[in-house]
Amino acid sequence: MKRYVIDLDMSKCVSCGACTVACMDQNDFVVQDGRRPRRNIFDMEQLEDGKVCFHHLSLGCMHCTDAPCIVGCPSACLSKDPETGMTIYDTTNCIGCHSCAMACPYGVPAFGADGKMTKCDGCYLRIQHGMLPACVKACPFGALQLVDLDDPQQAIPAQHSLRQSSLELLKAQV
């Protein structure tokens, strides 16, 4: 099994939103449903040690190794795609209990009018067919990348990588 994730190089993102639009298009997202999109962008201004700092972020599912959402779901709706390692779902038996939301340290699972969970599935079907996830393909700055965890050369430099800088935080999640 490949172990892919979608990682963000935080030094390259400019919050342009191309990834979110590509994701909405790929997944036939209907804004009127009231559901949070699978990928969201942020343009943050923060006072840090007396200085104003700017942060640009694009956040979607991190496709955690040992994903807490999988452990938390009472109906086994979430699982790892055996081919790509992406965290995918089948919500046939989803009871809308929101346990997955309580388990996710990134606030990813979202719910629509039918009460069932949806989230980024890493475009695993595209990957299985040799294509990039829609957001990665759309990013004009190479900030979003499809990373193979077993190929060290593909990794985004640790200090810029959203995934690597949040590993410690994930460790606390039980």
Partner: protein
């Protein structure tokens, strides 16, 4: 290696999966006192109300498919005793020795007998049979009035089932308010108002004293003297760990006491899930934490260690999310601890969070009407208990702010955690 897994709920299943992954050749015997695949007790009310099909209660599929994926020997017989000296499991058919034994016998619904309550009108909620019994009774259409005793997460789910069938339902508890083990009284108050608005009658600081019959109608006589006609009684008072199988050498509190490898005080004998007391990260003591995710983690940890892989499970905090009657209630940590209160939002009007801060930690939290901040809040609490300095990374802040928390509130929270405000 020879392994025994005693009890095949989710803890037993996760241990099986871990052992088989680590040790493809080992001999694994699974003892179960049901003829069913592992089921999720929490899904019983969803089946009873018709939201899930029967198969939906078994999240890991059929026994055959599990056996195909993780081969094991199935023993459909009750384990009578786990003998710690001999390292053996005893059933009615004899005794067999093992190198490693896991006790994953879970818990059972427990209710003291109610005088005059006919067994056919008393309902517990834990097993598949419990769910089938209630579902069949409701299909008969002879239930007009019902009482549920126990204003817990289980009690409210049973109430929800009854209320959806149009049954006139009462919820009672000896405690003074709803969700007494998780909610702060102010939050409980708002939840109670909403539950009552949906037509459910609530009564606190009382329980059923005994049952009487009047012109063929069952009447519950409460401890405060009031009389309520009722056709059935749901007993959601509490649970007891299934620890009858352990012998006197295994350390026992309210459950089987385990270390961070999920090993008992007897080497080679492990316990996981609702039958055991693991570490509570909030106070460093062992405690029963009867939750699905906890049982899964504990089962996986036990299985890995049994198969010779070092794996540590540091513990958990009390945490619960209950979605019922179109609302989310989330409770984290120990709600008895007092400290400085920090709130955001207006209780009852959209997202609300109440945090109790103590010793630079979040000792407890209640969240109402928002689930999307819960994972990050829980993560933050866990990190603080683990000794983290307590800064919210920018991506968590971004998610919290987009869910509706203000940056001023988050600044205040961080400031108080660091004690510089």
């Amino acid at each position: 290696m020879k392994y025994a897994i005693v009890g095949f709920g989710t803890a037993g299943y996760h241990a099986l999966k871990a052992i088989r992954t680590q040790d493809p050749k080992g001999e694994i015997d699974v003892y179960t006192n049901t003829s069913m695949p592992p089921y999720n007790p929490m899904l019983t009310t969803y089946y009873a109300v018709g939201k899930l099909e029967y198969e939906g209660m078994f999240p890991f599929g059929s026994l055959e498919s599990i056996q195909k994926e993780f081969p094991f020997e199935l023993h459909q017989e009750e384990a009578i005793k786990v003998h710690s000296e001999e390292h053996s499991v005893e059933t009615a058919n004899g005794q067999k020795e093992y190198d490693r034994i896991l006790i994953a016998t879970g818990a059972r619904a427990f209710a003291p007998p109610v005088k005059g309550l006919k067994p056919e009108n008393a309902y517990l909620m834990r097993t598949v049979e419990d769910a089938q019994r209630l579902k069949e009774r409701l299909q008969q259409g002879d239930v007009k009035n019902a009482i549920v005793v126990g204003a817990s997460m289980v009690g409210i789910k049973v109430v929800e089932v009854l209320q959806k069938q149009g049954i006139n339902t009462w919820l009672l508890d000896l405690a003074p308010y709803i969700f007494p083990l998780a909610a702060y009284p102010q939050v409980a108050q708002v939840i109670q108002e909403r539950v009552e608005q949906q037509g459910v009658h609530l009564k606190f600081s009382v329980t059923i004293d005994h049952m009487e019959e009047e012109d063929g109608q069952q009447i519950a006589v409460l401890t405060d003297g009031s009389r309520i006609p009722t056709d059935i009684v749901g007993l959601c008072i509490g649970t007891r760990t299934n620890t009858q199988v352990v012998d006197e050498k295994i350390a026992l509190g309210k459950g089987i006491i385990v270390d961070q490898h999920m090993q008992t005080n007897v080497p080679g004998i492990y316990a996981a899930g609702d039958c055991c007391e693991g570490n509570n990260l909030e106070n460093g003591q062992t405690q029963l934490i009867g939750l699905w995710a906890n049982a899964n983690r504990q089962g996986t940890t036990a299985g890995n260690n049994m198969a010779g892989q070092e794996m540590v499970y540091e513990g958990n905090i009390l945490h619960n999310i209950t979605r019922f009657m179109e609302m989310d209630f989330i409770g984290f940590g120990d709600n008895r601890i007092e400290g400085e209160v920090l709130e955001y939002g207006t209780l009852g009007k959209g997202m609300y969070i109440r945090l109790v801060l103590k010793d630079h930690r979040i000792a407890g939290a209640n969240i109402l009407d928002n689930c999307s901040i819960s994972g990050i809040v829980k993560n933050y609490m866990l990190r603080l208990f683990g000794g983290d300095t307590g800064k919210l990374p920018v991506y968590q802040r971004a998610a919290l702010e987009s869910a509706g928390l203000s940056s001023a509130f988050l600044d205040e929270l961080e400031g108080k955690i660091h004690g510089c405000h």
